[in-house]
């Protein structure tokens, strides 16, 4: 239902997403956090982070799955890199903890079984009450390939693996029509088997039979978010993506990139939501953002494909106010989660809300509703209806 009250003269939906990975997006974030990083990733820390994001008024949290680092040496003498919990399970843990925050894990499509992905994401939708999404990734890492004994995948094939996996997911989510569970005591039938369908996906490298092992997700179809550029024109035209994540080298170039992406989409008859990507370092507790970033960079280099904002909360508010009139939403990647989230929640989000630039936040809103998407009927429902 696209019933979100949008401010006049605004193109945007006013969605703010927050990347919640570990201590922050900067590789030295865990060493810069005020609280000592725990030896093991802790559930309490995750609980704290998602609750902080929700109470700050973010619409969605994303959970990164950066895959395996490429180790050149057989033995690491140094303490290991930041431990990584599986992204989808972190999102699932957050399900019963939160009420309004949409939960969007990043899931690789190259080295993960499509059937597992589809059923795990459908399960996430159940445990979150319809607040789940899927941030599609396609790993090009040799380490990820070696972990499962496969050859690395590059170029066009990455795009195809992602498109195939999305197609399998979408077919499996539709493979139970909404009313397939009938619980008809008189006939003894729990299921109406006419409302279950084989996915019968035949790809270049594999086939998947179906149906899913779990009834249709609460949202019918989970919203699928994809980095712009990963899918080819054909997949986009087929409706593979519900939202594209748009990156530019600098904050100044973001507007142009959004406009270009929108123009490129104009010809294919689809209008996925556009979400702008932004790294964020803010002034905090008497330290300038520049000084904070210098200190972090002296510990580790921060390479990211995203535009990076470094400055005051007021400046960021102005930037976001502009971007939110062009894009449907912005995903923020705080350098150090606890430090930058504090500033965002205290200064930035309240001001954006005061200016009516943000979509309202309410309990039990589905991610589809936030994105202005209606709940689709199963693709197989039409066939069943026509047969009758």
């Amino acid at each position: 239902m696209s019933t979100l009250p949008l401010p006049a003269a605004s193109r945007g939906r006013g969605l703010l997403l927050l990347e919640l990975d570990g201590a922050g997006s900067h590789p030295a974030a865990s060493r810069a956090s005020r609280t000592a990083p725990p030896a093991a990733p802790s559930a309490d820390r995750l609980r704290g982070a998602v609750l902080a994001a929700e109470s700050a008024g973010f619409h969605a949290a994303t959970f990164a799955d950066p895959g395996l680092p490429d180790y050149s040496a057989p033995v690491s003498a140094e303490p290991a890199a930041a431990p990584r919990l599986n992204a989808l399970q972190r999102a699932a843990f957050a399900g019963p903890v939160t009420r309004s925050l949409a939960l969007i894990p990043e899931v690789d499509t190259v080295y993960t079984e499509p059937f597992h992905i589809a059923t795990q994401l459908a399960s996430l939708d159940y445990v979150s009450g319809g607040r789940a999404g899927w941030l599609v990734a396609a790993s090009a890492s040799a380490a990820d390939a070696a972990a499962v004994g496969r050859e690395p995948v590059h170029g066009q094939r990455l795009s195809r693996e992602a498109a195939d996996s999305i197609e399998v997911g979408r077919r499996l989510w539709d493979s139970w029509e909404d009313d397939a569970v009938i619980r008809d005591v008189a006939t003894g039938r729990y299921l109406d088997v006419d409302k279950l369908h084989y996915a019968d996906f035949e790809g270049e490298n594999y086939s998947v039979k179906g149906p899913s092992i779990i009834p249709r997700p609460l949202q019918g179809q989970l919203p699928v978010l994809v980095p712009a550029g990963l899918l080819d024109r054909e997949a986009l035209a087929a409706g593979a993506a519900d939202a594209l994540l748009v990156s530019a080298p600098t904050p100044e170039l973001l507007a142009a990139e959004i406009a270009e992406t929108r123009a490129a989409l104009a010809g294919i008859g689809r209008e996925p939501a556009l979400i702008a990507e932004l790294d964020v370092v803010l002034d905090s507790r008497g330290q300038t953002a520049v000084a904070r970033l210098d200190a972090l960079n002296s510990l580790a280099a921060w390479q990211s494909p995203r535009a990076r904002f470094v400055g005051t909360a007021a400046e960021l508010t102005e930037l976001l106010a502009g971007v939110l009139t062009l894009a449907d939403g912005v995903r923020l990647h705080p350098a150090v989660l606890e430090t930058d989230l504090e500033e965002l929640s205290r200064l930035v989000l309240p001001e954006l809300r005061r200016r009516q630039l943000l979509a309202p936040v309410s309990q039990d809103t589905t991610l589809r509703e936030q994105l202005g998407l209606s709940r689709p009927a199963s693709r197989y429902a039409a066939a069943t209806a026509a047969d009758n």
Partner: protein, 461 residues
């Protein structure tokens, strides 16, 4: 693998029982036709059962795994409960709303990758503060494989060699991150797959996930005796359970482990009431809802391989012969493989001798534990005391026949009776599943087979 303590050669009954709950999700065991039967898929059902289990100091909450929907005569099975969430996704959510109960995920070794599954199980273990377990199952059928990239590539004979290589690789991955944060690379190249991975997660509060295993063939038992912490057995009757215990202790010792190292928790169904008479009436009612007339006919159809709708459920077994050579009990749950004609003759003779109708015969065949755990609370508690005294089992995995309230009477009435008899915990022994099951913490191997680390770095945790 070396043990710092010499394995005990004598089995010693602990005199205690533990309980687990197996949320089956699918099949005819769940009485969905009852008025107070709730959703099989809503998270609320899982939360309700898990929190009730925790209130009753249950050691573990189990989820089964579905990889392909069961079929009946070539179509999804209309009569039984079907549809369940992915185990580890649901358990990760339950980790957020529980604090003590163990979270056991049934996961197949054939359609997963060792590095990926080990990582996901570690995640669950860390999110739950050391309460995760893996119920190891194996499959070899191409029919399930039709949902996976790998397909049906595994020979039946390779089922356990494949599973064992898988489990050993997972253990090496869990062992590879030591307490100082140093990590070693794990490489395995074998017949079935190759793995080259540097683990991303440290050990949990219980070192690594507890391993459950449910195989019952001689190969399955040996596999469990070598690798598992707990056997999820199919032997709930006392005499049978004692035989099974003796067999497992012998196999465990042969594998170089201690006599008490592998716990046994059979699957079971409890039907309880205030009086013995009420319990018997309740059992008849439960059975009539589990195996109604349609289910009884459908059950036979699985073995006959043909439609038997014309037969009276309250009459004798079908006089026509099976249409198939070999039986394949509802596809997806594994092939039965018995000679169909032989089985039909055997069943007809048995039903005739005992004077059983189709419904009665099928009901008797499909009921678990039969009358052992049907009775008044005090009766069943007395019977369970005998299991504790003899050490026949370490506990039971209860499959509730009603979702989501099926544990209520067990927790409210049976647990206090067990506690009064001194055979059931009155509080959780600790915060990890390993502590609550009375399992020793694994010893970290001195060095990985890659030999990358010195023995001095190994330590007992």
């Amino acid at each position: 693998m070396s043990h710092s303590i010499h394995p005990a050669t004598e089995f010693t009954p602990s005199g205690q029982l533990q309980l687990g709950v197996f949320f089956q999700g699918v099949n005819s065991g769940t009485v969905w036709k009852a008025a107070d039967s709730g959703s099989q898929t809503e998270f609320e059902s899982f939360r309700r059962i898990a929190q009730t289990a925790e209130r009753g100091l249950f050691a573990a909450f189990f989820l089964g795994e579905g990889l392909r929907l069961r079929e009946h005569l070539g179509r999804p099975h209309a009569l039984d409960v079907a549809g369940r969430p992915d185990a580890q996704t649901a358990l990760a959510a339950l980790a957020a709303v529980t604090t003590n109960v163990g979270l056991v995920a049934t996961q197949n070794t054939t359609y997963n990758d060792p590095a990926d599954l080990a990582h996901r199980l570690s995640t669950l273990d860390l999110l739950s503060g050391g309460r995760a377990a893996w119920n190891i199952v194996t499959t070899d059928n191409a029919w399930t494989g039709a949902n996976f990239r790998r397909g049906g590539y595994l020979d039946h004979a390779d089922r356990y060699t494949h599973a064992e290589a898988f489990v050993e690789t997972a253990k090496r991955i869990w062992d590879a991150w030591d307490e100082s944060g140093a990590v070693r690379r794990v490489r395995h190249t074998g017949k079935h797959y190759s793995v080259d991975v540097t683990p991303r997660l440290p050990r949990s509060a219980q070192y690594r996930p507890v391993l459950f295993q449910a195989g019952d063939s001689p190969e399955g038992r040996d596999f469990a005796a070598r690798q598992a912490d707990v056997i999820f057995s199919a032997h709930p009757q006392l005499d049978d359970a004692l035989d099974f215990r003796r067999d497992i202790v012998a196999r465990t010792l042969k594998a170089g482990r201690g006599a008490n190292d592998v716990k046994i928790m059979p699957a079971s169904e409890f039907i309880l009431a205030a009086t013995p008479q009420e319990a018997l009436e309740k059992k008849a009612w439960v059975r009539s809802l589990q195996i109604g007339p349609q289910q009884a006919i459908a059950y036979l159809e699985q073995f006959w391989g043909r439609e038997l709708q014309g037969y009276d459920p309250d009459g004798p077994l079908p006089d026509i012969d099976p249409a198939v050579e070999e039986t394949s009990e509802t596809r997806g749950s594994g092939f039965h493989g018995a000679k169909a004609r032989q089985l039909a003759d055997q069943w007809r003779a048995e039903a005739k001798e005992k004077g059983l109708s189709i419904r009665q015969f099928v009901s008797a065949r499909t009921s678990r534990g039969d009358s052992t755990f049907t009775g008044s609370y005090t009766e069943v508690a007395d019977r369970l005391a005998e299991y504790a005294r003899t050490g026949a089992v370490d506990g039971f995995n209860i499959s509730p026949w009603l979702i989501p309230t099926g544990l209520d009477e067990i927790v409210n009435h049976l647990v206090p009776e067990l506690q009064e008899r001194g055979i059931y915990p009155t509080e959780y022994a600790g915060t990890t599943l390993r502590e609550n099951l009375g399992l020793a913490v694994p010893v970290r191997p001195a060095a990985d087979v890659t030999g990358a680390e010195s023995a001095s770095a190994a330590a007992r945790v």
